[in-house]
């Protein structure tokens, strides 16, 4: 994008700080989507590790294992609540990404 804008900006004699600002602003959606995608990957990786190794007695408790545990203890209400929270977290992150992608395409045709 910089290469594309460069000549036009030089033609208008746009000062450097405005060029930088404009480049960041005009790529804000792709930057955000990239960040979120990275975030998603990180969560997935970390999540996998925690599911396997994070359930150390007395120290940590992972949501998914906690759900299983509470279910087996017969505490169905708490298990359901935890499951619900997990679901909402996952859904909202995904929804945010999709909404952003959609508006990015609409607004900037990036």
């Amino acid at each position: 994008m910089h290469r594309e804008y460069d000549e036009q900006f030089r033609s208008f004699c746009i000062p450097t700080h405005r060029v930088i600002g404009a480049l960041i602003w005009d790529s804000r959606y792709s930057l955000l989507t990239v960040t979120l995608a990275g975030f998603g990957r990180a969560i997935a990786e970390v999540g996998a590790v925690i599911i396997v190794g994070g359930n150390i007695d007395h120290l940590t408790r992972v949501m998914t294992t906690a759900i299983a545990l509470e279910t087996s203890k017969g505490n169905l209400a708490l298990a359901l609540a935890l499951g619900f929270i997990l679901l909402i977290l996952a859904l909202s992150v995904n929804a945010a990404v999709y909404a952003l992608r959609a508006s990015a395409r609409r607004l900037s045709y990036a």
Partner: protein, 240 residues
Amino acid sequence: MSSKTAASLLPLEVDALCYRVEREDLLKDISVTVDSAGITGILGPNGAGKSLFLRLLHGLLEPVSGEIRWHHQRLDKTIRRRQALVFQKPVLMRRSVAANIDFVLNPGTRSRQRRDEVLQHAGLYRQRSQPARLLSGGEQQRLALARALATEPEVLLLDEPCASLDSATTLQIENLLQETSARGVKIVLVTHDIGQARRLADDVIFMHGGRLLEYQTASTFFDSPSSSQARAYLDGKIVI
């Protein structure tokens, strides 16, 4: 829109201009003096060096040797600021139509009213909140032109502004250009549309193979071109 005095950046003097990329001479020894207001057309076949020449006139490229002077001054940023260049392929920002205009208006004096004026003038007011990059080809080119005019240039440089546009859109743009010229803005128009040059140009620069072969008034050029290349070009023959 302010009406600046006619072409205070004139005369344009080009002195033994050469441009070279990797030992290949792309522009060879171009000298010309343009002292007439109005519209100067730059004609020539593809690859003649018209776009390069225009970029050099605007100071986007540095000549390898030779000199370009506008109003007896060497080309620099202050002169470039008084000019505007519309590229062959419009470079629009990933923003709304209105925001594209806002971006070039002077931050100190910009106003919504001024922007709306500019858009109305270009017939783009209705599309003002649309993403600029989703406009049709003709609308994009009109926006690029409107944005250039919004900076109130004294010299307007255009690189084939109507390439790949239909005739109705071409006419709209030509009308805008004539109006602009009548306001006293000097226009340099690169085109390979001979009809367009006939309709608009007051004088003509003919380029071929990196050289400037002719600089004539339009009537002389079209009636009796002096170079054989120009004659062949006007006859619609393929010139190599």
